[in-house]
Symmetry: C2
Subunit: 339 residues, 2 copies
């Protein structure tokens, strides 16, 4: 799902996301808690009304950003004290608070407040992180169940355990004992390298309940997605299509393209002849290159439209291939393309 | 008309401009000459195809930007040597070259290459600038007439003369002797102050041929527009709506608004209750404030959509008022609003 950090998927309007067929977006609890504040979003009718998006929203718990963005963290069993990356102000997030914020935002899928250990981390450190993540998952479940207005929303548990199979299993056992509407594997793509990430996906995919959504967090490289889908995962989020777009890196059916390359200067063809997005239907590679070099806002817009359209089409085709029993063929085709 | 410096009206797509009813945009010859180069635009099918815009385009001559942006200018009767503000490379623009570039771009309205004196400038300096502007206007006319592919396009002459009525009149006499499809008054809004600008408009409006477009260049303040319309002008261009939008200054039927103001934090109302633009129909002031403070691209997009929509609606209403003989009433209403 596209990531909408500040109550917007960067460079896009909700109208464009709708037209491209995006069905769900991820919003960052950490960012919205700090700015404009969940109270403000609630006062303005909740996240859906705030950003004019009437399809589902998944909110992360803030846990990951607390570790990747905030400063001077102090962790206890109670929660995490940290300083805002925006103004240095001190805040304290607990599992209960993270659920309250997500309720104020009006989320459709809540995520548990978890502890994501850095990489590398010792078995001992990750053991303690898993213990806290499990403890906090139980408290998130309780808090969520106590909020009547959130009764129609889902709550997903997050599996941690770093690269240690025994801790990953232990973490999952804890989550299953509590019971969630969906299960996510977190703490991947934090520096551990492709092979270890694939091993975690291979280990956990088959262990997650088959009748619930199985979500591999923060993964967006399409070859990693194919690997994870084979292991059983069916939900992903990533800034890869949007961030790359703004940097001029575009995904096409023939591979990855850097739009600034001189060879595109007078190229009158579309970015991707197989693509039906607004950018490919109406503009040339030469124009997209010009907009990028001139640092125009429209460059980021058209590039983002293309990459998001490309990703959404990839996932639509992937679902069709699975339903038609052609996943192997689909995977083989994409593995041959240079990304 | 909206200004599209780098072959795009900043933050907008051509689809949005079309939907809002924009009928013409101005493109900057100087910018497109330097990047991507008029040869590249021509190779890619001309400016209309390049930027996917099928309504008229007016191209300025580059003269104004050579004075306001370029470095180390050297002016002779032949033309102007200058250094690019992008990479310092040396270029030489002549009246003939300016017309050639506009022809390569595929402009619908060409502007003569003129010499815009700074403000303040002595009567002597402005006299020489007017002499050259007149000389160059004749050469632009000849060059334009010699290019067969440009026969369907218009060529406008540009009146100069600073704040000196005698030189303004002399400049116009020179232009009228050559003969153009429209007449523009340039060299205003270059630092001379409102009152002097109004005096130039009052002087020149009635002197310009009534049966040809009368264009006051670079004017965009709506009270100035009303003043100039009364003097006889009917064409204007300005970056005011777009540049202000990106800086969070928005025009509404109740006056000018700075969207970042704290009072809008939890304001669930539309930016302008009387406006039918995409931003006003779908988003709250609170959301627009949040996007602006978070420096989101969507902030610049929605703000620009609103300001351009507001300007276009202003001009539609102004035309209606003139046709219905209600200009005085219209002017009075707008003069009472704080802009």
């Amino acid at each position: 799902m596209p990531v909408g950090t500040n109550a917007t998927v960067k460079a896009l309007s909700p109208r464009e996301l709708n037209e491209m067929g995006a069905e769900i977006i991820l919003s960052n609890t950490y960012h919205l808690y700090l700015r404009p504040g969940h109270g403000t979003v609630k006062a303005l009718g909740g996240l859906h009304k705030f950003m004019d998006w009437n399809r589902p929203v998944l909110t992360d718990s803030g846990g990951f950003q607390v570790y990747s963005l905030a400063r001077l963290r102090k962790v206890s069993d109670e929660g995490v004290e940290f300083q805002s990356h925006i103004d240095g102000s001190t805040h304290f997030l607990t599992p209960e608070k993270a659920v309250e914020i997500q309720a104020a935002l009006g989320s459709d899928i809540f995520m548990c407040f978890d502890l994501c250990p850095p990489y590398p981390a010792s078995h001992e450190d990750v053991t303690r992180a898993v213990q806290r993540t499990t403890l906090w998952a139980g408290r998130c479940r309780e808090e969520k169940d106590a909020i009547a207005s959130a009764s129609q929303s889902a709550l997903f548990g997050i599996n941690q355990g770093g690269v240690y199979p025994d801790l990953r299993r232990k973490s999952l056992d804890g989550l299953l004992a509590i019971g969630f509407d969906g299960y996510a594997v977190g703490g991947v793509s934090v520096g551990e390298g492709k092979e270890e990430m694939h091993q975690i996906a291979d280990l956990m995919g088959p262990l997650l309940p088959e009748d619930k959504p199985r979500y591999l967090m923060g993964i967006g490289d399409l070859k990693d997605v194919l690997h994870a889908v084979e292991a059983g995962f069916d939900m992903f989020d990533c800034v890869m299509p949007t961030r790359n777009a703004r940097n001029g890196t575009l995904f096409t059916s023939r591979g990855r393209i850097s739009i600034k390359r001189a060879e595109f200067k007078e190229d009158s063809g579309p970015l991707d002849p197989d693509c039906a997005c607004y950018a490919c239907r109406n503009f040339s590679r030469g124009y997209l290159r010009h907009l990028f070099l001139a640092r125009e806002i429209l460059s980021m817009r058209l590039n983002t439209i293309h990459n998001i359209h490309f990703y959404l089409q990839f996932f639509r085709n992937l679902r069709t291939a699975i339903l038609e029993g052609k996943f192997g063929e689909f995977k083989k085709k994409w593995q041959e393309i240079e990304f």
